[in-house]
């Protein structure tokens, strides 16, 4: 057959598998071969589980041959961000401090993809403990953007987006605390969804900031994102913050792609100044496509968004400083004995391990958070940030009174070069200016490619935001826009990405 299995979408693979046109083993092996060929350059994976993936594929093929009724995505391989606990597979969160840790349990999301019969290809690279927008903060080296190996793939989930963009997997799981699914999707020309907070279980997701973290799909098409969203989502009694309601009808919305009569709100504060011209141009065209598809455009204002970044960088470090306290060398992971001390105390071992095991960005945020929560500072910092959070939620709620969805460019720029912002935390943080408000308010958001910026020929992202628990609107709008963009491009945007040299460096 002529289909390149590595380029097929999950929906297409699902059909091919169901029709017996291919086998899960064949698909899985093709993807593993692709990884062998390109991941030496891309470095999207921290760990590849060839045997495990092929074993699952063989099992699914056998069950399909035996006539068993299988999940729609059974046999379709997937990559998992290294922040998700996977039983028997290393889980490092991109940190030295967890080097060698093999979790004894699966995250709920991992359990669900296993139950669906999806082979897990491996664990993807990320900024250490999901802190960053470039994967440059991974303790195991950065992932490279398949569009330009000298540029960042976004972060923190650069690995999950790059693995999809470089055709090493049709699907990947990401997590999004301030944009870590959407911003990498934007700069790699792929699709990513951050579901409503509580829509997907966080059990087994190693927490960065508990009140902001949310896992979601990383894919090449909107329909694939919906298919994976459906597998991942739904109530989990192991996560108290999980919403006890059915998963929104995301697949149906993606298939119908109907935006007729929908009101699309352009957020005044998230356009114009500070956004790269080519990114803004692709955004404006995309809005016009939606109008052509029957949507109505309104402008909305969310004045509190200006304080979002400041609030985010108080809430996130505060929660992170507490969440990361457990990494203390007492029970698992790295243990470093302090030099020059004969009989070190537990506290001295903790300190030496945390000093050696955490990177600079992690330390920076732990220090910030510890300070913000300190008595005497709590009200001014953490307390004020919570008030801003309330105001942002109010802004969203007012905006959604006049618009069904809100839209903006996902990130202000296309992918920047390695090293450009690594020494300027503020510049790095500003890359998430458009994505952070959704996390603070718990509303769902999606990024899909809007085209290539004229000035650098790199992908730009289009962000859609919907009210909490109305995730299906993302898929309706995203799918409608995708159809029109594909028609205007004459094929997938990723088809225009430069061919990666297929060395056999191995991953």
């Amino acid at each position: 057959m002529t289909t390149d299995l590595t380029r097929a979408s999950a929906a297409e693979l699902s059909d091919l598998l169901a029709q017996g046109e291919t086998s899960s083993v064949e698909v899985t092996q093709s993807l593993l071969n692709r990884t062998d060929a390109v991941d030496g350059d891309v470095h999207a994976y921290l760990h590849v589980d060839r045997e495990g993936a092929l074993a699952t594929a063989r099992d699914i093929d056998a069950r399909r041959a035996a006539g068993e009724e299988l999940h729609r995505l059974a046999g379709v391989p997937i990559a998992v961000k290294d922040v998700m606990a996977t039983k028997g597979l290393p889980t490092t969160c991109g940190s030295k401090i967890l080097e060698g840790w093999i979790p004894p349990y699966d995250a709920t999301v991992v359990t669900r993809i296993k139950q669906a019969g999806m082979p897990i290809l491996g664990k993807t690279n990320m900024d250490e403990f999901a802190m960053g927008s470039s994967t440059e903060h991974s303790a195991y080296g950065p992932t490279r953007n398949p569009w330009d190996l000298d540029r960042i793939p976004g972060g923190s989930g650069g690995g999950s987006s790059a693995v999809v963009a470089s055709f090493q997997a049709p699907l990947a799981i990401g997590t999004d605390t301030g944009g870590s699914i959407r911003q990498p999707a934007a700069v790699t020309g792929t699709v990513g969804t951050k579901p409503t907070y509580g829509g997907v279980s966080r059990y087994g997701l190693v927490a960065l900031a508990s009140s902001l973290d949310q896992a979601g799909p990383c894919t090449r098409t909107v329909l694939d994102a919906a298919l994976l969203h459906e597998v991942m989502g739904g109530h989990d009694p192991m996560d108290s913050t999980s919403i006890n309601a059915p998963v929104p009808a995301v697949v149906e919305a993606a298939r119908r792609a109907d935006v007729k009569g929908m009101k699309i709100g352009i957020v005044r504060e998230l356009t114009g100044d500070g956004f790269q011209a080519g990114v803004q141009a692709r955004f404006d065209e995309s809005v016009q496509h939606l109008v052509d598809a029957g949507a109505e455009v309104v402008e909305v204002s969310c004045p509190s968004f200006e304080a979002a970044l400041a609030a985010y960088y108080l809430i996130l470090p505060s929660e992170a400083s507490s969440n990361l306290a457990k990494f203390d060398a007492m029970r698992y992971g790295m243990r470093v004995l302090p030099e020059g001390i004969d009989d070190p105390s537990a506290e001295q071992v903790m300190a030496a391990t945390r000093d050696a095991g955490f990177g600079d960005e992690v330390k920076r945020r732990i220090i910030l958070g510890t300070y913000a929560l300190s008595s005497g500072y709590y009200d001014a910092y953490y307390g004020s940030a919570q008030k801003v959070r309330r105001l942002i939620a109010d802004d969203f709620s007012r905006a959604f009174d006049t618009a069904d969805v809100l839209v903006s460019p996902t990130a202000p720029t296309t992918a920047f070069r390695f090293g450009d912002k690594i020494d300027d935390p503020m510049a790095m943080y500003l890359n998430d200016i458009a994505t952070i408000p959704a996390n603070l308010a718990g509303v769902p958001g999606m990024s899909l490619p809007s085209g290539l910026a004229d000035e650098d020929g790199l992908p730009a992202g289009f962000q859609i935001l919907a009210p909490a628990a109305a995730d299906e609107r993302l898929y309706a709008v995203g799918s409608a826009l995708e159809q029109r963009l594909l028609a205007s491009w004459g094929g997938p945007l990723l088809g225009r990405a430069p061919e990666l040299s297929t060395t056999t460096k191995g991953a």
């Binding site: 400083s321 007492m330 506290e347 510890t370």
Partner: protein, 510 residues
């Protein structure tokens, strides 16, 4: 600082403390709830299991694991709050208390901070002299226990001098309720007694609520004593010390007294009290310095983002209120009246832990006096000889029930057994020989009802003891006792002593 040079272990006499100072006490009691599972996961809570066998990703704090609140623990907390006359929060949250310690898996304790589940209550405590002291309750909040460190290699079992430490996480995550009093003032010389009585009353209350096994010796109930002194007449609190883990009623009393005398010595010498935690030494009855503690200790509390708020509906609270048992003190008063026991008898019964057993036995048909008599005699001696187990436990282990006592009493009132025979029958029951009737049958215990045999025995005894008989004839009726004894011996104990006396007197007087 010159003041710290003063020997902190010096004490002054009790009367001298009282002459110059008023104590202010604050008591913090931690209670492990008797739920089947832990506070935030499904692990078992059984005491004494092999180390680290009752653990899971959640209570080990493994990366990615999340807590889920144990609803039964919340219900217990609300019931405790209600029994302590507290208000119950309509909405409250858990908070993280952040500090590093190896026995705390997450390096924060999930607790409650400024939003406790229960607050503003009181507990009335009855003192020896019959007066009542009202202990004001500040709050009762929910939290999880930590693991348990075992320090190996040192002589004291404390971390100082140890070569290494082992940690058992079975206890990590066990639900705790911390009950905190307001500062208790005006106690004066009664402070030690009030402290002890409060903890005892609280223990009885928690037991009646059936929320904890409240075993201080196993650590399921632990008391911290905060104490300060202020000069007599002052209303400005002095600097306090916090004596940790005072784990018996007697120690609570002693620790308060000791700290008062120690504080008194320092203050009288012009020194200042160091704000610190103190270790209580059960064996020597003293406290020693622990770590300095200040109000600036910064636990960086913030609301636990992994849990949703606890918001018990008022209907739920009222439904739980309806499950509250009669308060133990009130119940004791009621039962004492119903049973007609004297204060002394009631105190003995209380001290022996027999209230429930007697209650059940009376319910089953025995007289209160009979129930008290049989449960506090021989069986109490035997239970005590078994290493001080309670009568209830001793009886339960041997399947000795209130029904046995009822049956035994019935054998006496029906005239089949006299008192001494009943004692023999009871001993047989305790020896495991079966029911009182079965024992009486097997041992041939039966009052002889044949007056002829009894009269013959009396005649024989009078003849053999002519001198004693003469004394009775001369009007020394009390001498008949010796004859009755002889008759009973003659009858091998199987006679009604009252009847024997009647016959003897009728033969010798008249």
């Amino acid at each position: 600082m010159a003041s710290t040079q003063i020997d902190t272990e010096a004490t002054i006499a009790w009367d001298d403390v009282l002459a110059s100072f008023d104590p202010v006490m604050g008591l913090e009691v931690h209670v492990e709830l008797g739920t089947n599972t832990k506070m935030f996961c499904g692990c078992a809570t059984e005491f004494g299991a092999e180390p680290n066998t009752q653990v899971c990703p959640v209570c080990l704090g493994l990366p990615g694991a999340l807590p889920v609140v144990n609803e039964t623990a919340v219900e217990s907390a609300i019931r405790i709050g209600l029994a302590l006359n507290c208000e119950i929060a309509e909405w409250c949250r858990f908070a993280r208390k952040n500090y590093f310690y190896p026995d705390m898996p997450k390096n924060f304790q999930t607790s409650q901070y400024d939003e406790p589940i229960a607050f503003n209550g009181f507990l009335d405590v009855e003192l020896e002299d019959g007066t009542t002291y009202r202990v004001d309750i500040e709050r009762a909040h929910m939290e999880e226990d930590t693991g348990k460190s075992l320090h190996v290699g040192g002589s004291t079992g404390r971390i100082h001098g140890a070569t290494h430490s082992l940690v058992d996480y079975n206890r990590a995550g066990i639900p705790l309720i911390e009950i905190v009093t307001k500062p208790l003032t005006g106690a004066g010389e009664r402070a030690p007694e009030i402290a002890k009585a409060y903890v005892a009353t609280l223990r009885d209350l928690l037991k009646a609520l059936d929320v904890s096994d409240v075993k201080m010796e196993q650590g399921s109930m632990r008391c911290d004593v905060n104490l300060s002194l202020m000069p007599k007449g002052s209303d400005t609190f002095g600097t306090r010390t916090e004596t940790k883990n005072v784990n018996s009623l007697r120690s609570v009393e002693r620790a308060v007294r000791y700290e008062m005398c120690r504080h008194g010595a320092i203050l009288q010498a012009g020194g200042t009290i160091l704000q610190e935690t103190r270790h209580w030494h059960e064996d020597t009855g003293i406290t020693t310095s622990g770590r300095p503690k200040s109000d600036a200790d910064d636990y960086r509390y913030f609301p636990e983002p992994d849990l949703v708020p606890v918001a018990p509906s008022r209907e739920t609270v009222e439904a739980l209120r309806a499950t509250l048992p009669e308060p133990p003190a009130q119940r004791r008063k009621r039962l004492q009246g119903e049973w007609g026991f004297s204060d002394l008898e009631m105190r003995d019964v209380l001290n022996a832990g027999l209230v429930d057993l007697i209650g059940e036995t009376v319910e089953a048909g025995a007289t209160p006096a009979g129930a008290r008599k049989w449960w506090s005699g021989e069986i109490a001696r035997r239970a005590n000889a078994e290493g001080g187990v309670s009568v209830a436990d001793y009886a339960a282990e041997r399947s000795i029930t209130p029904a046995h006592v009822v049956e035994l009493e019935g054998l006496v009132t029906s005239g089949r057994l006299n008192d001494s025979m009943a004692r023999q029958a009871w001993e047989g029951v305790l020896d495991g020989e079966g029911t009182p009737t079965a024992v009486a049958d097997a041992r041939g215990l039966e009052l002889v009802q044949d007056d002829g045999a009894l009269e013959a025995a009396v005649d024989k005894v009078i003849e053999a003891n002519a001198d004693v008989a003469q004394k009775v004839r001369d009007g020394k009726v009390q001498a008949a006792g010796a004859l009755i004894g002889q008759v009973m011996k003659e009858m091998k104990g199987q006679a009604d002593a009252g009847k024997a006396r009647e016959i003897i007197l009728s033969k010798l007087t008249s």
